[in-house]
């Protein structure tokens, strides 16, 4: 495994020489109350190994029983992807030894997925639409979580010892696999991210997953291959595993295109392998070799009977499908009155949900948009985080917007309040009080400061009287400075003009 940064070809040059083909595998962790095959709670963040039982830690004699809710969620996902639903689907065992896998096989659907052959339309930031063909969506169970102690790689190799938490073992997953996606061209990285964003919105809208990427509710493996333009045979692909943010997906795909192009241009060959994405250095590194002959010794799971959803059940679930993401986008844009450009920015920044919540909590749409796409997004970006990872709620933003609207604080103060909220100092109103940020709108105090400023710039009043209102600006600036930004600038302006009229 080389940790040195690989040689990269310039992106534009790579696209000139090669056609990009991507394929995406997205794992959705379902938010069912209990696990896939047992009655243990499906909860994130509990004490390790507290949500476990003989079944999910694979004790001798235990047997799985399928969670009906998980099947229902999987069917809903399949339907939302435009897939056909298999009337008869078996589970299989995928056999391999790994300490996070309690039974040393994963119960998964192999050749009989519950949903297959669908497609969805994905809009990329440029406004262009791509049709992504879905090969399948199948059910499987998650593995436990390993923490490697000692060593410096955080991986099992070189670790002194490893800890296993089986709380996650047996949590239901749906894996959505696309067919190869051609024609993305320069926009392939954005398309990959936009696709995952759409899937996220979709499963969230269905209510079947919490869809929080930072918690691993949505995990993406990105397959990338390139081939010289005009070549029919697909290039050798790499599979970059567990890319855990939308931004990383875009960066990882771009990186792989550039890395592979550099190798091919030199006459080298691409190794078929899994790769790991390193957010910190913006690079992928070699994982383990992966050939199509990886032998998992799949065979039908004999402990489970086939899943046979009735046509009536499927139709019932189809009738209950919520609004599709594309329709929802259309409706929200109309409701909020955003321009196409404004709305696209909102979508691409992944801010539709928080803005919707903020508007629902009482903010004006433009105010909500201003805060989320402006200062909050800026801070998230600066801290290299997803907006959802910041500790600010929709109601905080509503309160903040109201404080500005009512003239209690100005924009500069509002930014300071925001910093306070993110630092966990409390609600915006509280922070205004604690930090003494309220604007001075007491005319007496303002007039004293104005008169002091006018004394230093005696010609200003004369200029105003001559109709040169912009001359007030210099005095406003001086007043603001004197009052350390707490003055209500609009009121100061009014008072200066009054003085001139006296």
């Amino acid at each position: 495994m080389s940790s040195a940064k690989a040689e990269l070809m310039k992106y534009e040059e790579a696209l000139e020489k090669f056609e990009v083909v991507i394929g995406l595998e997205v794992h959705i962790e379902l938010n069912t109350k209990t696990k896939m095959f047992c009655g243990c709670a499906n909860v994130f963040g509990d004490e390790p190994n507290t949500n476990v039982c003989p079944i999910c830690i694979g004790l001798p004699g235990s047997l799985p029983a399928v969670n009906r809710r998980a099947i229902e969620s999987s069917i809903s996902i399949g339907l939302a992807l435009g897939c056909q639903i298999a009337p008869n689907g078996r589970f299989s065992r995928k056999n391999y030894f790994y300490p996070d896998l309690a039974k040393n096989f994963q119960t998964s659907q192999y050749d009989e997925p519950i949903a297959f052959e669908g497609e969805i339309s994905v809009e990329v930031p440029s406004g262009k639409f791509f049709t992504v063909a879905i090969e399948r969506a199948h059910m499987e169970e998650d593995a436990g979580k390993l923490t490697h102690i000692g060593g410096n790689t955080g991986r099992i190799q070189g670790a002194e010892y490893s800890l296993v938490d089986y709380n996650r073992a047996g949590v239901p997953l749906v894996e959505i696999v696309t067919k190869p996606i051609y024609g993305g061209g320069a926009e392939a990285p954005e398309l990959a991210a936009a696709y995952v964003r759409l899937i996220r919105e979709m499963v969230k809208g269905l209510g079947v997953s919490d869809a929080r990427m930072e918690r691993g509710n949505v995990r993406c493996d990105a397959n990338v291959s390139i081939r010289p333009h005009g070549q029919e045979k697909l290039g050798t692909r790499t599979e970059t595993k567990n890319v855990n943010s939308l931004r990383s997906i875009e960066r990882a795909v771009r990186y792989e295109i550039q890395r592979q192009a550099a190798i091919l241009a030199k006459g080298g060959t691409i190794t078929q392998e899994t790769r790991h994405w390193h957010e910190d250095r913006g690079a992928t590194s070699s994982g383990r070799p992966k050939s199509d002959a990886d032998d998992y010794r799949y065979f039908p799971e004999p402990d489970l009977v086939p899943v046979q959803p009735s046509a009536e059940w499927v139709e019932e679930l189809r009738a209950k499908l919520p609004e599709q993401p594309a329709a929802r986008r259309k409706r929200l844009q109309l409701d909020w009155g955003f321009s196409d450009l404004e709305f696209r920015d909102v979508v691409n920044a992944g801010l539709m949900d928080p803005i919707e919540e903020t508007v629902a909590a009482g903010a004006k749409p433009q105010a909500a948009r201003k805060w989320w796409t402006g200062e909050i997004a800026r801070i998230a970006n600066a801290e290299d985080k997803e907006v959802s990872e910041l500790s600010i709620s929709a109601s905080d933003v509503v309160e903040l917007a109201n404080l500005v609207e009512s003239g209690k604080i100005n924009d500069r103060m509002a930014r300071e309040v925001l910093t306070g909220v993110l630092a966990g100092e409390g609600r915006p109103g509280q922070i205004v009080t604690d930090r003494g940020l309220e604007m001075v709108s007491d005319d007496g105090a303002l007039l004293a400061a104005i008169d002091a400023a006018l004394a230093k710039q005696p010609d200003v009043l004369e200029k105003i009287r001559e109709g040169k209102l912009q001359a007030a600006g210099a005095v406003i600036g001086a007043v603001m400075q004197a009052m350390k930004g707490t003055a209500d600038a609009a009121r100061v302006r009014e008072l200066i003009i009054q003085r001139a009229a006296e």
Binding site: L59, P60, G61, L63, A65, F97, P99, F299, L304
Partner: protein
């Protein structure tokens, strides 16, 4: 001198308990005494729980004396095969891998025994993970045949068969993947049933081959087994493969015990030809008795049965290789750390090397190969096709006959050590019992006398369509009576007295 109670059948003892003539404590103690006197020689048990059995017995006696209505089997002691999990006793599956492991849960069938108030005397021996026909592959040494302690008690459930045949328990639970209840019953003169696949919950049964395994009763009479099946059968939400519907009362079927008008199909491919002469002789005599009692004996053909052992020894190892993967030292059971600075892979490998015996390793390797991508179609895939053909053979045969019949095994009990180094010879013991597991249909072994050449018990096997277990109890009970009449006493009364020095 043993308490005469222990020689009675379970159904008789149940009556004595119910009427209050005998207390559960007295009965349980009588069996504990018997275990004390013959247990070591027969080596049926891997673990005994006299204290907890007596505690259950006392509780049942109290509840009975307070007038509570109890289950028909309440207070009747029982032994449980050691591949069924028990909260209060180690469960080893006959393997070093699980030495001393106490499960945190009861198997569903064990829970049903407890709910009915049956004192559990202990856990019975088996070939490691139920892989074998003699108990010689138990990591804790073989059990002996009470009819001749130099012979095998059958396997894998030789612990359960020998415990019942030596009167250490009136009833036992077994598990049957290819004959592990029926073959031991056949060679010990006891009754054993593999119910329809799914009739009894497998939850808590340490899996050998999930699609073949089935828990069932072992006893000294057909009626006894019927009562036990009625207790343990029925849907279990923990076992997805368990049947949702009830199969009716086996006890009623056993009590009916008539074969008048019943069509009994002799399987041409398993008619005793090539089997031990005495086995074939007793088999033919029983057919004659059944015919005289009003049954219609017909001949059926099941040409695909010829391939059943080959198919079985691909499907079973394939499933077993996967089922046994969990024995990796990480969460429970044996852990062996190799020298030096071991990686997880090396710990897993060292543990499995030390913890599994030769037959288990043989089957894991065979099964791993049968599932590998290059071999899958020709091995596991082909075996599944054979399985379908065997099911079709059964369908065709059951169109002509209500039940099918064959000798249960080719021979009477063989000598300990005789086949241990010849796996293929060992595998052939199950030639008559395997087809029922492959098709999921029920089968029963009933004793039909002693072979003239060696004086050892011979068993007959009946098989019925899936869910028609009741027919087995009906025909089994009828033939049992016919044989008792012909021999002048119960088969087990011919068994040697183990306490006579």
């Amino acid at each position: 001198m043993a308490n005469e109670l222990i020689f009675k059948n379970a159904s008789e003892l149940a009556g004595l308990l119910k009427s209050g003539e005998v207390s559960s404590v007295e009965l349980t103690q009588a069996h504990i005494d018997r275990i004390e006197s013959v247990g070591e020689a027969v080596h049926s048990f891997l673990h005994t729980s006299p204290a907890s059995a007596l505690a259950t017995a006392r509780e049942i006696d109290q509840r009975r004396s307070s007038g509570e209505k109890l289950h028909d089997l309440a207070g009747l002691p029982i032994a449980v095969k050691d591949n069924l999990t028990t909260l209060d006793a180690p469960t080893t599956a006959g393997s070093k891998m699980l030495e001393g492991w106490i499960p945190p849960y009861d198997a569903t069938v064990v829970k049903r025994l407890r709910d009915a108030g049956m004192p559990i005397l202990g856990k019975t021996n088996l070939d490691e993970f139920a892989m074998g026909s003699s108990t010689e592959f138990s990591a804790y040494g073989p059990s002996k045949n009470p009819w001749d302690l130099t012979r095998i008690p059958g396997g894998s459930g030789g612990g359960s068969s020998s415990v019942v045949a030596s009167f250490q328990a009136p009833l036992a639970l077994g598990s049957d993947t290819g004959g592990s209840i029926r073959f031991p019953a056949s060679v010990t003169g006891t009754v054993g049933i593999k119910p329809t696949y799914g009739a009894v919950s497998r939850y808590g049964l340490i899996a050998l081959a999930s699609s073949l395994d089935q828990v069932g009763p072992v006893s000294r009479s057909v009626l006894d087994s019927a009562m036990l099946q009625d207790l343990i059968a029925g849907h279990d939400p923990h076992d997805s493969t368990s049947l949702p519907e009830s199969l009716g009362s086996m006890t009623e079927a056993a009590l009916k015990g008539s074969v008048k008008g019943m069509r009994i199909g002799v399987i041409r491919e398993l008619n005793g030809e090539g089997f031990q002469a005495g086995v074939k002789q007793r088999f033919n005599e029983s057919l004659e008795m059944l015919s005289k009692a009003g049954a219609e004996i017909v001949e059926v053909s099941c040409p695909s049965f010829e391939y059943s052992i080959a198919a079985y020894y691909l499907i079973l190892p394939a499933e077993a290789s996967s089922n046994l993967a969990k024995f990796d030292s990480v969460r429970f059971g044996l852990r062996v750390a190799p020298e030096g600075n071991p990686t997880i892979e090396r710990v897993m490998a060292a543990t499995r090397e030390a913890g599994f015996g030769p037959e288990v390793k043989r089957r894991i390797i065979l099964g791993t190969y049968a599932l590998s991508s290059g071999a899958f179609d020709n091995f596991y895939g082909a075996a599944q096709k054979v399985r379908t053909l065997i099911q079709r053979d059964f369908d065709a045969a059951f169109a002509k006959a209500d039940v099918l019949v064959s000798p249960c095994a080719p021979t009477t009990a063989f000598k300990l050590g005789e086949k241990i180094s010849d796996p293929l010879a060992m595998y052939l013991n199950d030639i008559a019992t395997i087809p029922a597991n492959l098709a999921g249909v029920p089968g029963i072994s009933v004793p039909i006398g002693l072979a003239p050449e060696d004086g050892l018990p011979v068993g007959i096997q009946f098989m019925a369509p899936a869910r028609a277990d009741a027919r087995l109890y009906q025909v089994g009970a009828a033939l049992e009576q016919l044989n008792e009449a012909a021999w002048g006493k119960r088969m087990m009364e011919f068994a040697p007295d183990l306490e006579a020095k």
